[in-house]
Amino acid sequence: MDEIKELYQQIILDHNKNPKNYGVLSSYNRSSEGYNPLCGDKIQIYLNVENGNIKKISFEASGCAISKASASVMTEMLAGKSITEAKDLFKKFQKIVTTDSSAEIDFSKSGKLAVFAGVRDFPTRIKCAVLGWHTLIAAIEQKEEPVTTE
């Protein structure tokens, strides 16, 4: 059960139970829908972007604890950040959840994202963890089609 505890850390469970920035923004200028056909996870990201900065961000999701918590932590970290910073964090996050189990992860400037390190021991769950982030990138780039993780 150790790896399970590593995966379902308290912070993840808390964000799953009480997600931050949950719901539709009263005013937003970008949004995108993400879908994981494997498990039916769905996520909607709403953004208020001004001058290359994320002024406000929120999400709605129906999905597993990992995808929900990941999106919640993401919104918490990105409010007020620039789009460039958001993309950098996405890269950091991808590294964290995909680095080989035996290798060291560079957690510098990763903040809360570190709690998702346990995901790398569960290859089938990586898609859950990155769904929110992929959807965010799509919203930033304003893709019309729903994003999938397939």
């Binding site: 597993c64 604890a65 769950r125």
Partner: protein, 424 residues
């Protein structure tokens, strides 16, 4: 190793009828079940997706490739004749297994999916035009939805759907209302892979035949749990997959009544399905070979024959009795878990239990029980319309076979309690 005629064993071994189902003995037949995962004994509860293979099937395939491999039909040498005999002997085994009237009615395909696609193409397409209707049900696997949608797109025919009630049973009155002189085919699943419902296919066939409408039965989940007799069912088409009945993947069966099969054009063209080919015109082989273009999955057919022999080594009543007891036990054990809800509560149900736990996503449940050595499936089970009907994105599904035992469900219940603890 050299092989001479005298050394060739009877292709299919005769297995003694077991007088009762001794699960501990049965489990010894399945090498894969003996292993541990994450240091825990494997508990395999994903039999609706695929079943494990008994040693006799693995050995039959191994032996085929080591000693018996040759292309079938037309070879004049020893090995080719032998391989042809084994291939055709398997057809005979399938015929006996389904109690078909003739070997000609047995077509080897890749699986139930290809069987349905074959019928859609070779029976559906020539017989359907705009305004015609095909009836399926709300609990079909995607493999019994999509081929008909494609056919409808091409011909202008319409798909009509029998609704299901909250227990996950077909609503019989609604079926009667859908039947009309526009109906050209009824295609129905025997046992639902996501709800476990055993449909009253006899009644569906009877009602359809009263209007001369042919019926296809998707038996992918049925053959390993029930006695199937296509003559007594009187279905026109019946499909199943080998890997769901202890055989290899990539091989399955389409049964079709001889009179219908005779009038169907080929599905694919190529070698082995022809009598003579001239550049101007080709004369096709007789059924069933007309529908088996190209070198078939010979090893798969050999393995399937052995798997069906293995299955027929049991008394089907013993399997049904064992699985019914197991279903009752599992239902009770799982229902006792606070917050657990079973989706699919048909009165007539087979060994499939779909369930949800309040507040915990199936995917999280699947991951945690996996680390306890338990393989269950989570997701939509290729039945998205069923998920939509019950307004859930996904379910957990524990499905069992003749080698599962009560203790498997005790372990699952324990693991589910751990899941609840993680999320408490």
């Amino acid at each position: 190793m050299a092989l001479s005629a005298g050394e060739v064993s009877v292709p299919i071994e005769i297995i003694d009828k077991k007088t009762y189902l001794n699960v501990d003995e049965v489990r010894k037949d399945f090498p894969l079940l003996q292993q541990t995962v994450y240091g825990k004994p494997l508990i395999y509860l994903d039999n609706a997706a695929t079943t494990q293979k008994p040693d006799v099937v693995i050995r039959a395939i191994d032996k085929y490739y080591r000693q018996e491999n040759a292309n079938i039909h037309r070879g004049v040498y020893f090995l080719s004749e032998h391989a042809t005999d084994m291939y055709e002997n398997s057809r005979k085994i399938v015929k006996n297994f389904l109690n078909a009237a003739s070997r000609k009615e047995i077509v080897f395909v890749r699986g139930a999916t290809e069987g349905i696609n074959l019928v859609a193409n070779s029976f559906g397409k020539p017989n359907m035009t705009e305004g015609d209707e095909i009836i399926i049900s709300h609990m079909e696997h995607h493999s019994n939805i999509v081929p008909w949608q494609l056919l409808c797109q091409e011909t202008g025919a319409k798909l009509r759907v029998i609704p299901i009630n909250d227990r996950g049973e077909l609503i019989a009155e609604e079926f009667s209302k859908l039947l009309s002189n526009k109906t050209k085919l009824v295609s129905i699943v025997y046992i639902s892979n996501s709800l476990g419902t055993i449909n009253a296919v006899e009644k569906i066939i009877e009602l359809s035949h009263a209007l001369n409408i042919p019926v296809l039965i998707d038996g992918a989940q049925a053959v390993q749990h029930l006695k199937v007799d296509v003559q007594s069912l009187d279905c026109d088409f019946f499909v199943f997959s080998g890997h769901k009945i202890f055989g290899p993947t990539g091989i399955g069966v389409l049964y079709a009544k001889e009179s219908i099969l005779e009038n169907m054009p080929p599905y694919q063209g190529g070698g082995d399905m022809i009598r003579s080919v001239k550049l101007e015109k080709t004369i096709f082989e007789d059924i069933p070979h007309k529908f088996e273009a190209g070198t078939p999955n010979i090893a798969g057919v050999v393995g399937l024959g052995m798997a069906l022999n293995y299955m027929m080594g049991f008394k089907i009543e013993d399997i049904i009795d064992h699985e019914n007891r197991l279903l009752e036990y599992a239902t009770n054990v799982l229902s006792a878990i606070d917050g657990l809800r079973i989706i699919g509560n048909a009165k007539n149900k087979a060994g499939v239990i779909s369930f949800l736990i309040e507040g915990i996503h199936p995917h999280d449940i699947g991951t945690i029980v996996d680390r306890e050595g338990i393989a269950i499936r989570t997701g939509h089970h290729c039945t998205q319309p069923v998920m939509a009907r019950f307004n859930v994105p996904a379910t957990c599904r524990a499905s069992f076979a003749l080698y599962n035992k009560k203790e498997d469900f005790d372990s699952l219940a324990e693991a589910l309690k751990k899941v609840k603890k993680v999320f408490s």
